[in-house]
Point group: C2
Chain length 932, copies 2
């Protein structure tokens, strides 16, 4: 559907009359609600208005009420943001109500902004999951409302800091501008003074401008109305009392207060914005609109007496359009908005790590549910789609991206709800995987899944004498892994050769291999544990030494490049502030990291160790305390040293909240600089006690130097780069020269007074004494100019893990009939190219995203443009048509028109089956395919 | 306008279909809101939704929202009660919205119940003010909506106990039935067991049945929804979650809980009622209706499987109609529902006295604003109507009748608002009085008012050497009063004769007299104060003796009837419970009276006294403490002994809350019985520790024996009746044989946890140390069979006091031109007849109420029917037409059709200019008049 001329950006301004007042200060009132897709209540509790004892909030009623009120006055406007909620509401509406809403959207009276399934977190999300959730929300809007329903403005009013990669994605999704509410309090003041509350964010150092340029505006009052002007049912501000027969007529007072506030908001144009709404407001929209109608009436009535203030119902896109028309130049920004502090001791850097188990579960779910399951649905075709799966898995992942979901800032019962949704998704996904593998392998053998391999539980492998493992590889290049399974026998043989435990498992691109595993009756004994401090472990690439006195790491060497650094690593805990402090009463909590002291407590000076060495793997197992242990692991053939840490339950019998870090201290000369990724993609430079755009007054020497690490961080000097790849989002910093610390786990005894109203103290019936968390860090030591060639691939393998399925007993007797290996690709893609998305779009169409995964400056080899042939891509299907889309796949790329905020250059690629990818480019295609 | 056939009582039942289900349990859901006309916030704050920090409540939004929601589904119903709010809303609506609402009313979807300006208090109001406020509200509905807007049901869901006189009034106003929510917890249980929650209240012992018969129903859950079914925004009950795709589908659970509650409510018919609403609910009516729609849908869906429960949107009149159709006989009740206790130590008998100053101000405002001002407007005709007066005074009086207004149970700032409204009314009324007197007297002399005579302040009389006093008498018979004015000279002469201070002032019926007063240069010295205990004072009717040792009263004798009783009187205070108590933690508060001990503390065993004796008046002035004093006063020619008490500020430096009483101890043999009036009209018998309709388990020996005294109480035996007439509503009891105590003032340090959330601790800038209150009790001693002949007239004079106006200096030099006396009546009415109402109705019409003010058994002389001629009634106008109305003047009397709940007898009076009044009858007429 085309958007009729009456729609959003084209409506008359001011709306009621054609005579635009000259030299007016125009106040854009933006009625809005901010509806968390889970926080204090679950997403469905919020939708229905259940558990109002926790928080009064019911989104079904908000949408009911807003539509009613919009119909009462054509001037009124409303914006809606979170498609997860809108979708729930829409499908319960009558056709006539749906038609009414379409009309409101067509006329620009109801405008969607942002429009993703949720308003994603920016510090703890991975870009692939963010793109997926945005795609799902925008697709719903597109299919429901057509062009008029397409958001033109990104709107992240609540996330606690802003990632550059998010800005880059929003630009590539076609948004004309971006508004948010939260930034560092010093930054806000600085920008107010400099009139830089609007700016042009150049969000990639690789993509050619304006590809990743995003006009960005900072809202004047967070996302709240000005003080004294909150007319929601949840507020207590005085209504406009304009009946002169009743007591307390206050029109004059209200108008003069409003004019004072409007005139105090100094911006670069004669347009200013006021967000008239807040969390879950407009449940009874009449209160807001009735008073706003009066406000507009009485303020504008003064124009007859010469007032130069014009107030109007508006939307962010209307406001943005006016800023664009002003034809000014805007300050350029190339860094990001982390960390976020709302006061001098209140750094929101704790949530980078909060709920580490949920963060990991979200990340592995992305691999299994979003990537693998979607790929197999495409590759196996209709045969895969005979089960209960469908939108469910995607929705579970989408809501998990919310800024109170994977961020870890929700209440415990809500965290449980997110995890349960993901677990339901896994169950449905497994049905699809079984169907797909059955079709692709021509075997109906029952597939068994072992979801608890992280705690070494798999009833089948622990009991069976003979079973098969099918390993699916979601990457577009062949990969080998060491697969670790719990067994009770001492030796097994795989269908390929020799001792199963000595063998890697490999799988082809977008494909699987099946291995048969049998208990060996008279196999060799298991490798023995040697309870002593090892001197060193090494493989063909790396050599790791240990201090014989302490059992700690002491050095790391790259044998290929012949580089070596001193490296010690240990575990520490910061004592979380309990709020009793002369400087500030801010405690550490789910959001905020505030150590009591800048010096963390060491958990143990020494580690008890054991060593296991086989031809496949060498392990040094370190015990630091009953609640901290680690396996230092080096696989044969690996360029990465694995540190598998296990932390918890954190003891709290001393009544001290604890924030546990691991710290790597090296001989690298870092000069107070380190690097972190943004949402798993481009890497940003971080300097201690420094912000690129203003002179920082540092007041929290640790928390104020923490940054989100989504997939990797590194330190380097001219000679050496030590990169740490993480398996989930974590917070970290480089406080000392040569040092890199990563926060692993947190257990806190106080709420940090940002609304969640619970201390972050995770327990469960499985972990009544506190949550135990296990994770992995992968260390690589490389020369800086080529380090990305290693860490990009390692990180990619960490994000997209093989999916294992098992079948019991003998393989099908007619083994020949079963396809024991399969690749969905005709050939592996080059290492620089990541097959980001392959998902069924509808009956005939498949959505494909290809990504260049190197930054332009990272690698002499890999940072070159790469060309891929789409026609010869897949083995199971033929591509018979290609249409390139914007990143969020809600618009044809060649129809994407964005406001130009700076001179545009460059030409667009022709629509060819050969696709060239430049560094950090993601290209999104709809493919029309037929199965071969 | 006639009410179309679709209106309320005639709609199909159940509404959706003609096929009435047989043998069904029909559950009438009654959506409603209870909107206090002031309580924690002022009436206008409630209307606008201001001060939501105190309480979330905004009536403008309630009415907006309900109308919207009624339009969405024709099955939905709503009732509205308080016309003070509806009027405020209605006059701000557009003509099209008004038309929409008329339609909803015509179709019975919006139904008015009760419909007075407010829901009046029953324990502390005077019947005349209640009739006036009901008349105002019902008139608005009548004129706005016609017959369809006429409430058929009286609805007092919140008042804290129920007066028989209210029931009598409602019957005479034409209501078919009455529902309320609060009654004694023992009474409720008893009635549940006996199935007497519906009853026929025979509310007069004088009026022939069914004139004062009122069908009365007790609501099942106060006025709240059943537990778990509150879907207002102010509630936290789970909504109906009926989307099977979302978590927590709960339809089955909700339905089964509802069926359980419905089946547990056992009544005498197969119809039950559920009030679905509460205080200020339905501000966002969508929440209620959306869930009620679903409830009805899912519960009734079970009928297909044999369920015998039918649930429907309904109204009280629809429910009442079904009870009437059942054609049963109902238990008869002839007493009232006082006192109200909601638990065994929680008697709501404190508010009978709470805020004694406000209670007096309301009573005297009734005399000035409602009666005198209205009469003068009629008598002086159009000349009176050139000022800002009008509805204002009536509305101020009407809101003051609310059950959190004159009751004293509002917050302090709200009490101030009620008083301010009355004071504004006084100012407007005085303009009217000035205009009227100018017209009637043909004098334009400036009228001066002395509103502070109660504290002996009147700048004019205190400074002027010559002034005139005009005394208006609102009664229909001539009256003489002693007028007390503050002066600075020692002797004055009045225009009539001799020493002004020795002379009564008299005024003709519904008329005035003007007296000129001049300072006497060489007059006699003022009467001297004699500081000694007097032996006795007496006049031609009464003799009062004092104990020479204590200074207290010791006896009272009626010299005419030669009866004499021992009478001692003193002041005491109960120590208010602070809630620290083993039996219960209930403290005394604005509502609840709970003394810590049944024995009050005596304030002083003796009184310091002074005596003043003149030919006009004899006074014994008694000082009991710095905060309690009294003047015992006997005027020449008076049949009543006046006790003018002054109490306050009550000391609280001992941290003890105090409830001050005066107690009269006599030799009368009361046998635990005493008598109190009901709303100033009929008298009821009270017996200690006894209730007429159930066996009382008494748990509060003092508070549980307190009753409201609106105008009088008496004790008697065969020989003697001591009647005490009060000047305001107070609480009192007869705890000991021969004793009568009246609570005068209360000062409390704790809130009593019934919502007002303030201790009743009255201070102001004038009384920073606590409120001082002054009042009068009038005592008469008579033979019981004729006692009413005295106390009815005394009480009438106490309620309707003369209005004094002053003019400075010489009277008009052309004295002959000024009319110095005037009566609006051609002749005085007989003593049994009270001219209750004379008020301008519209340009041509005058509303007249005549009342027989004696009960049928009270007086051999006065309890006879009386006939009055309307035609020859007035001196200034001719009655050219008469129509008799129901009591509330919203229906022609001969068109008033009430449900018959018992065989009807009697015939109606023909519409004749001669009107016969039977004991306790009030008759209401619209007169068409022309000025003579």
């Amino acid at each position: 559907r085309r958007c009729p001329s009456a729609a959003l950006r084209d409506f008359e301004f001011p709306p009621r009359a054609g005579n635009k007042p000259p030299n007016m200060l125009n106040v854009h009132l933006v009625p809005h609600t901010h509806d968390d897709v889970g926080w204090l209540k679950t997403v469905d509790q919020y939708y229905y208005g259940d558990r109002n004892d926790i928080q009064h909030a019911g989104v079904q009623y908000i949408l009911d009420s807003v539509v009613d009120q919009l119909l009462k006055n054509p001037d009124r406007r409303f914006i809606y943001v979170e498609t997860a909620f809108f979708y729930r509401w829409w499908k319960r509406q009558s056709p006539s109500m749906q038609q009414t809403v379409r009309q409101l959207v067509d006329e620009g009276r109801l405008e969607f902004v942002n429009g993703g399934w949720c308003m994603s977190d920016e510090a703890t999300t991975h870009y692939s999951a963010v793109i997926d959730q945005m795609t799902m929300g925008l697709r719903f809007l597109n299919e429901t409302f057509g062009a008029c329903g397409r958001p033109r403005v990104a709107w992240h009013i609540d996330p606690f800091g802003h990632a550059r990669e998010h800005a880059s994605m929003f630009a590539q999704m076609g948004y004309d501008g971006f508004f948010f509410g939260r930034l560092d309090y010093q930054d806000r003041t600085h920008r107010m003074v400099q009139l830089e509350q609007e700016l042009l964010w150049r969000a990639s150092d690789s993509l050619p401008p304006p590809t990743a340029d995003l006009f960005t505006g900072i809202l004047p009052n967070g996302y709240n109305p000005p003080e004294g002007f909150c007319w929601d049912q949840s507020c207590d501000d005085p209504p406009i009392r304009d009946d002169p027969d009743l007591e307390d007529y206050n029109v004059n007072d209200v108008v003069s207060r409003f004019l004072g506030i409007a005139k105090a908001q100094v911006r670069r144009t004669n347009h200013i914005i006021m967000t008239m709404g807040s969390d879950f407001q407009y449940e009874n929209a009449n209160l807001w609109y009735k008073n706003l109608d009066k406000l507009i009436l009485y303020v504008n009535a003064l124009q007859a007496n010469g007032s130069k203030v014009n107030v109007l119902y508006s939307t962010p896109s209307c406001y943005l359009q006016e800023l664009h028309r002003a034809n000014l130049t805007w300050a350029l920004k190339t860094d990001d908005f982390f960390p976020y502090a709302d006061s001098d001791h209140d750094f929101w850097t704790g949530y980078f790590t909060s709920r580490p188990a949920l963060k990991r579960y979200e990340r592995i779910s992305n691999s299994n549910l979003q990537v693998t399951c979607n790929q197999l649905e495409v590759l196996a075709g209709p045969a895969s789609r005979t089960g209960p799966f469908g939108e469910g898995e995607k929705k579970a992942m989408a809501v998990a991206q919310h800024h109170d979901a994977v961020s870890g800032t929700e209440k415990q019962h809500v965290a449980n709800d997110y995890a349960r949704r993901l677990a339901n998704g896994w169950q449905r996904c497994q049905v699809l995987v079984s169907n797909s593998l059955a079709a692709l392998s021509a075997s109906s053998a029952k597939r068994i899944y072992c979801d608890n391999l992280n705690i070494s539980v798999c009833p089948l492998t622990e009991s069976s004498r003979k079973f098969a493992v099918t390993v699916y590889n979601p990457l577009a290049r062949p990969v080998s892994w060491a697969v670790r399974l719990p067994v009770n026998g001492s030796a097994y043989v795989s269908s390929d050769s020799g001792d199963f435990r000595r063998k890697y498992i490999s799988a082809p691109p977008l494909g699987y291999s099946t291995y048969s595993v049998s208990l060996l009756q008279n196999g060799p004994p298991p490798a023995s544990m040697k309870p002593r401090h090892p001197a060193a472990i090494q493989n063909e690439y790396l050599r790791v030494t240990f201090d014989p006195d302490t059992g700690l790491l002491s050095s790391l060497a790259n044998l290929e490049t012949k580089q070596s650094i001193k490296l010690t690593q240990n575990f520490y805990w910061y004592n979380a502030s309990d709020g009793n402090n002369t400087e500030s009463n801010q405690p550490s909590g789910a959001y905020i990291f505030r150590p009591n002291s800048s010096t963390p407590f060491i958990i143990s000076q020494t580690a008890k160790t054991e060593t296991v060495q086989t031809s496949v793997v060498q392990e040094v197992r370190q015990w630091f305390s009953p609640w901290v242990s680690q396996v230092v692991r080096l696989y044969a053939g690996s360029r990465a040293l694995e540190l598998e840490w296990t932390v918890g339950p954190l003891p709290i019998d001393d009544s001290l909240g604890k924030e546990v870090i691991t710290r790597l201290d090296t001989s690298i000369q870092t000069a107070e600089v380190f690097y972190t990724d943004s949402n798993g993609r481009e890497v940003l430079r971080r300097k201690k006690d420094f912000r690129p755009t203003w002179t920082l007054k540092q007041s929290e020497p640790i928390a104020g130097n923490y940054y989100p690490i989504n997939s990797r961080a590194f330190i380097k000097d001219d000679a050496d780069q030590l990169t740490v790849v993480t398996d989930r989002s974590q917070g970290g910093g480089s406080i000392h020269n040569g040092s890199l610390e990563i926060m692993l786990h947190r257990r806190l005894l106080y709420d940090d007074v940002r609304g969640v109203a619970e201390p972050l103290n995770e327990t469960s019936h499985i972990f009544p004494d506190g949550l135990v968390v296990r994770g992995r860090l992968l260390l690589s030591l490389e020369r800086p100019p080529v380090a990305a060639d290693t860490h990009r691939l390692i990180a990619q393998e960490m994000v997209l893990q093989p999916l294992l399925t098992f079948t019991d007993g003998d393989l099908n007797p007619n083994t020949r009939l079963e396809v024991r290996g399969f690749s969905g690709l005709q050939a592996a893609l080059p290492p620089a190219v990541h097959l980001l998305t392959l998902t069924q779009w509808d009956q005939d169409l498949v959505l494909l995203r290809l990504e260049h995964q190197f930054q332009s400056w990272e690698s002499k080899v890999s940072s070159q443009p790469v060309t891929v042939s789409l026609q010869k891509l897949f083995s199971t299907m033929e591509v018979v048509g290609v249409s390139e889309m914007n990143l969020s796949a809600n618009q044809w790329k060649d129809e994407m028109r964005r406001f130009a905020w700076a001179p545009q250059t460059g030409t667009r690629d022709p629509r060819l089956p050969h696709v060239t990818l430049r560094p950090m480019e993601i290209r999104t295609f709809l493919l029309r395919v037929v199965l071969r």
